[in-house]
Structures are given as structure tokens and as C-alpha cells.
Amino acid sequence: MLLALAHALVLPAWMGEDEPWHVEYATLIARGHLPTAVAPITAPELAEARAKGELAIKMMHRRFGDVPLEEHRELQAELLDGLRASAFSSRVDWSDDLGGARTFDAVAPGFSAAHQPPAYYLVVGTTARVLGVTSATGVLRIGRSFALVAYLLVIALGISSARALGLSAPAVLVVGALLVLWPMHARHAAVVNNDVAAKLLASVAFWFGARGLGGLTSPTRSLLGASLFTLLAAGAKPTGLPATSAVVLVLLLLWSSPRRDAASPARWPLALGLTLVALGVVLVLTAHHAPVVPGSLTGLTDRLARAGEPRFWRALASTFVGSFNWESRSLPQAVVLTALGTWLLAALAGLGGLARTPTRGLRLFVCLPLAAQLGAVVLRGAAAGRYLFPAMLAFAILAGAAVDAAECPATRRRIASALVIGLVALSSYAFWAGLLGNQYARLGA
């Protein structure tokens, strides 16, 4: 809670990646509009909008067809005033000077949140509407409050899942500490982005699975809960689907195997679970402009080629561990590599630790969501670390389980201490030298 509040106080407005577009979407809902329209855009209209620098307006107008273009323009102008007031151009290295800019095309031409599923924006926007908040900065605050709550819930879900899976107390502590202190995850406590919702819902799906595997809830409930939240996570953002569907898949594999017994769920929840996951996949495949799925074979090969380049992995690593100022600056590569290298060592040991727990199939349950999420990010072709967050619980539990690889309690304590101290050092450095240093000490123009 303290660290979440610290980020809420320290992260300047609009410094969460893509915040203006997400706030624009939620603000329109807060002002009483609904994202019901999918108006077609003709090529000449697109060309005209591009020439006028109003592509972002046209794209949002496509989603909110009942909103007059002038209202879209006014909202983007209001948001850009906010960006200027928080010295956006000075903080983001790649940003143009936004002096006099009236539309989002001045920030990033042709970029918009309009293609995103509406669930997250309906929650934030409706909350704002209920509270009587209609200003963009007010919606920003509400969205950031949602992120804070989501961060705390994910930590609680991670600790609860680790306990349910039978990890020892020091191992659970490491899981909790990683979720609290991992720099980009902590920063996610103060960011308006539908990745926050995808992460939270995917974590709930994982938690249902963990409780089922741990015997704390019935397999039927576990499977239904995981399947339901898989669908919800996909509805928040398609990037929520890979890890969650992997969770459901593992549960199905474990519980529908020939070794199933009386404790296994009945056939109908299995069928329902499969149906829900299939629905999630269909949702992603049919979502408008969903960038998860390559549009063509060439698109797929292009993305794979991009993922084969070292810079893709450097960017993915930096943005997963610690990047700032809209990913225009990051922690030193040595720090990033040390953090990920330590995690990798811990994860390898964690595989041994998981093998010591009494739960069958645990390694598959933890590793498959991670692998699925990473694979989806590669297919997505965008090196953004936050796209990995739906598998954050698996990421933390795999490292925490390293503690349980040791038999001796004293050794377990030492491993836990070393990992937690390392996390404290990483978090402290990232907060002071990374976040404060880049957001406040170094302002360019």
C-alpha cells in the first residue's frame, strides 16, 4: 500500500504509457456516451483525416458514433492541455513539442484506444459518472485509483495462490515481495491502462486454478471460476487471454486425464470451461483491429522476424523490469540483466521447489501460462513488458518456489533473505535513480 501510494504521488500525470488515449475513452463514457458504434471509414475519409491531423479523432468517432466530431476535438484539446501542463514533451524523449497541438496526431499519428474492448473503460467511466466526475483529469485520478486497488488485489491473490499451492512461509514471502517490489509492477499501481484490468482478471483466473489444485476449493468451482475470468480477461484486453487460457488448459488436462477419480469435476463443467475459453479466443479473433492476431502470413513472418532481433528482447526486458518516461528511458542494461538473470536462476531452482510440493502438475500449471504469455507477446510483435503482466503470479511463484528447493529451514531462510534483499535493492534503485531521476531530474526539451 505504501509503495502504491508512493507511485501515485510521484508518477506525474499522463506519464503512464498511453494514458491520454485510455482516459479519452473512459472520459467519453463518464460524459454519458456509450461505445456502441462501429462506423465504417472510407479510404478518402481516412486520407482527409490524416491530412488534417485528425486521424485519432476519426478513429474514436468510429467507436462513439453519437459524439459530434467537435466534442471529440474539444476533449483531445483538453487532454493535450493536461499533457502540456505536466511537461510531457520535456519528459518523453521522442515527443515533439506539443505547443499549439490540438489533436492526438501531434503525439503519435494514427494511434488510438478506439479498437480496445470496452469493459475496462466502462468500469472506470461509469465509476466516474456515478461520482459526478466528467473532467479528463478527474477520470485520470479514478483510473489510477483503480490501478492501485488492482495492484493490491494482485499481490493478495499472489500470496493466497502461493499458500494454496503449498509453498512454505519464506517462499510465500518472496512471492509477495516480488509482486510488491518488481519495479514495473509497482509502477503499474498508478497507471491508467486496460492492461491493469487484464492483469487483475488473469490473476483471479490463476487464483481459482491454484485453489483448485491446492484442494481449497472444488475442481468444478475452480475450473468454472478460471474459465469465467479467462473470458473476462479477454474482454478487458486480448493480451489477458494467453496466460488464462493456459491455466484452464492445464486444469482440463489434469482433471480430465484417465487418472481422474471421484474428486474430479463432472463432465459438464469441463465442457463449459472449454466453451468459455473458446469464446474468449473467438472474441479476440473477431475483435475489431485486434492487433494480437497477425492479419496475414506476411504479417506473421514479419513479427517473428522482429522477435528474432536482439533489440526486441532488449526492449522487452527493459520495459518489463524498469522503463520510464513512456519507455523512452530505462534502467541500465546491466541492472535489467542482473534482475532477469537472478530471476532465471531462481526460476530454475523453483522448478525443483515445486516438485517438492504435494500437488500434482504444479510445474505445468505455473510454467505453461508464462510460456503462453511470452509466446503471445512475440506473436503480437510489440516489445512491451506490461503485456507479460497477466502471467505475473506465475512469474512470482516460480521464483518464490526457489526457496523450497532447499530442504534445510536455515537454507530456506537464507535464500528468501537473499532474494528479498535483492528485490529491495532493485526497487530502491529503480524508484530513486529510475523514476525520480528520469521524471524530475532530467527534463529535456
Binding site: 505504501l2 509503495l3 501510494l5 507511485h7 504521488l9 510521484v10 491530412a51 491531423g53 524523449d93 521522442w94 515527443s95 515533439d96 513539442d97 505547443g99 499549439g100 499458500r163 503449498g166 509453498l167 512454505s168 512461509a169 519464506p170 514471502l173 509477495g176 515481495a177 517490489l181 489444485l213 491446492g214 484442494g215 482433471w255 486425464s257 487418472r259 477419480d261 474428486a263 474430479s264 517438492r356 510440493t357 504435494p358 500434482r360 529451514p409 531462510r413 528468501a416 533473505s417 534483499i421 528485490l423 529491495v424 535493492a425 526497487s427 530502491s428 534503485y429 524508484f431 530513486w432 535513480a433 525520480l436 531521476g437 524530475y440 531530474a441 532530467r442 527534463l443 529535456g444 526539451a445
Partner: protein, 370 residues
């Protein structure tokens, strides 16, 4: 356990030490950078003309004197670095934004590749307003990079065809707004004849091309460029267009260029770019051509002060009590995790409440398939 706590406190202090103490990363006091994906990476090469045309940059330092200045250089096509190539920078300063400026020091650096070139000063100089002019000794194919403070309007790009041009007429679309500057890609700008007219751009209404000039802009007569954008700053067009300002969709333009000028285009056409908007007034900053300071563009420069403000002072200035409170909360958060570590490791029970008694590798948890 005691060792762990000591190490933990050390880890906790790492961040503040790295930011506030001797490990603090060096942060430039001034940083004028190049936004990506924009027109502003246009290369402004060395001038071979008299001193008055040499490019430079004006800047202001809030405290101290410049300790180091970096200018970003681009390589010019076809050029090669001479062995003894060096750039000389004339650093002058004043207590007033517009001077008078007194030359304080000449700084020398040797470029080896495109990118940032560092100049180190040897003494402290009074400010807070400084001007750094490039000079040239030796011969090399490097040029400082320039950026606009305006936004791209109509982007014409560079091109792949070059041809000599002395006069060219065309139309400028105005969808993105009235231009505050027109830039034309050129490989070479010819020198005007003695007493002859310099390069100029004339704008007229597209619907009345024979009508009066709306604007006419000339480049300095002694400007000589090898590979660059020809930059024509446009005066207030809205005033010249009057009531037609909102309805005019294009302007007719005419370029008059000295013989020897080579422009770049594509598809047999010239594609000038426009820049729109109003530059934010920043007294003390701007691109220099000799004594003239231009408010609409800057050279890309980083300046380190010999008396940099500490992070604490910057946090107070730029973030206020809110940020200081946040920093304190972050420290408390990490400390509380360390306390949790102490409690967890000091606790005797290393098993979770749900773990059954007996051999952990033996029977599975209740309710699970075997």
C-alpha cells in the same frame, strides 16, 4: 539474521545513495533533443561562408557555468574526415538574454563519428546567458543537427532525384494550417552573383496567382549549404490573408534561386514541407546564424553545468511536497518488506497452514487425484 538486516538496509539505501550521493548519474542542465519521426533531423552542415553565417546555439543556464557541451553531428554524404579534423567552438556569455555577448573561451574537439561531440571548458564563465558558435579549422564532413520548434504540417520528405533549379513554381496545400516555415530539400545552394538577389520564396493566393505577394522571404546572401533543408520562415500569413484565412486551401509559391542551386525531389516533382504552429517563446534560447537568433529552431545540444542542482532541489522545485512524501513512502514500503522478512524468517513454522503433516513427497493433498 543480523547480517541479512544489515544487507537489507544497505539495499534500501542504494536508491537514495545512487540518486543523491556520489553515485548520482550526471544529468545535463540543458537538453535540446531530437524528437523521433519528425522533420527536425534536417542536417545543417558547416558553412563555408564568412563568420557571420556560422551556425550556433544560444542557451541559458539556471546556475553555474558550462562544464561540458555536446552537439549532435551528422555525417554528410560523400565527405571524409581529415586526420587533423577538429571543431572549434566559440563560447560567449552575457548577463542579458540579448547581450552584449563577450567571447570567453574557444573549445576544441575532434569528431570521429556521427553522434554527440563533447566540448569541455577549462574555466568558469559568468552567465546565465551563453552562446556557442561553431567555427571551423581543418576540413571535415560533419554537420550539427537542427530541429524545429514547430510541428510538421505537410510532410514532403527528402526525395531521390536532384536537379539544378533557378526558378520553380507550385502550390502548397494548407490542410494542416497556415505554414510558419517552408522547408525545401536541397543538395546545394548556389552563391548569388555580386549584387544579385539571394534565394527567395514568394507566396501568393492560389486563386489569384497574379495578385499581390502575401509574403516574400529571402535567405541570407552569404549562406552556402552543401546538403540541407532550405529554411524559409514565413511571417504572419493570417494577417495577409485577412478574411480569406479560414477558407484558403492552398497557396501558390515561387522559388527564385541563385545559379548552381540543386534541389531534391521525387517523381519529377519538388515536394516542399511546411511547418505549422507557433514556437513557444524561450528567451535566451534559439538557433544562431552569426548574431541573429532564430526562435523557431535549435541545434541539438546538451550542456552540463559545473554547479548542477541536486536531485533533492529538483524534487522540491518540480515536484514539491507531494513528491518528497512519495519518496518517503517508498522508503517506508521497502523497510516494511524487510520487517516482514525478519518476522517470516524468525518464525519457527516454515510450512503453510494448509500443508498436511507427514512426508511432503508422499500423499497428495486431500481432495486431489492421486
Amino acid at each position: 539474521m543480523r547480517l541479512a538486516l544489515v544487507l537489507g538496509l544497505g539495499a534500501l539505501a542504494l536508491g537514495p545513495l545512487a540518486s543523491l550521493g556520489p553515485l548520482a548519474p550526471e544529468v545535463p542542465a540543458v537538453e535540446l533533443r531530437r524528437p523521433g519521426g519528425s522533420l527536425h533531423a534536417g542536417v545543417l552542415p558547416l558553412a563555408t561562408s564568412p563568420l557571420a553565417s556560422w551556425p550556433g546555439q544560444a542557451f541559458e543556464l539556471a546556475s553555474g557555468s558550462p562544464r561540458r557541451l555536446d552537439f549532435e553531428l551528422a555525417a554528410l554524404t560523400g565527405g571524409a574526415l581529415a586526420e587533423d579534423a577538429a571543431v572549434v567552438l566559440c563560447l560567449s556569455s552575457s548577463s542579458q538574454p540579448e547581450g552584449p555577448f563577450v567571447e570567453r573561451e574557444r573549445l576544441r574537439a575532434r569528431p570521429t563519428a556521427a553522434g554527440w561531440l563533447s566540448f569541455k571548458t577549462n574555466a568558469a564563465h559568468p552567465g546565465p546567458y551563453f552562446r556557442a558558435h561553431r567555427a571551423r579549422e581543418g576540413d571535415f564532413a560533419m554537420a550539427p543537427r537542427l530541429r524545429a520548434r514547430l510541428r510538421p504540417g505537410t510532410w514532403g520528405g527528402w526525395g531521390n532525384q536532384a536537379r539544378p533549379v533557378t526558378r520553380h513554381v507550385g502550390e502548397l496545400p494548407l490542410e494542416a494550417g497556415l505554414p510558419a516555415a517552408v522547408v525545401v530539400p536541397a543538395l546545394e545552394l548556389g552563391a548569388p552573383a555580386i549584387g544579385g538577389p539571394p534565394a527567395s520564396l514568394t507566396l501568393r493566393s492560389a486563386s489569384a496567382p497574379q495578385g499581390p505577394d502575401l509574403a516574400q522571404v529571402s535567405l541570407p546572401a552569404d549562406l552556402s549549404l552543401e546538403s540541407t533543408w532550405l529554411w524559409f520562415p514565413i511571417p504572419d500569413l493570417a494577417g495577409a490573408l485577412g478574411e480569406h484565412a479560414d477558407t484558403t486551401s492552398s497557396l501558390a509559391y515561387r522559388l527564385d534561386l541563385p545559379p548552381g542551386t540543386v534541389l531534391v525531389g521525387r517523381g519529377g516533382q519538388l515536394h516542399p514541407s511546411t511547418l505549422v504552429g507557433q514556437p513557444e517563446p524561450t528567451p535566451g534560447f534559439g538557433f544562431l546564424r552569426g548574431e541573429a537568433r532564430h526562435d523557431d529552431r535549435d541545434l541539438l545540444v546538451r550542456v552540463w553545468s559545473d554547479r548542477p542542482e541536486g536531485l533533492g532541489a529538483k524534487l522540491q522545485d518540480r515536484g514539491g511536497a507531494q513528491v518528497l512524501l512519495g519518496a518517503l513512502l517508498a522508503l517506508l514500503a521497502s523497510a516494511s518488506v524487510l520487517l516482514g522478512l525478519r518476522r517470516a524468517c524468525a518464525g519457527a513454522d516454515l510450512r503453510p497452514p494448509s500443508e498436511p503433516d507427514g512426508d511432503p513427497d508422499g500423499d497428495p493433498a486431500p481432495g486431489l487425484p492421486g
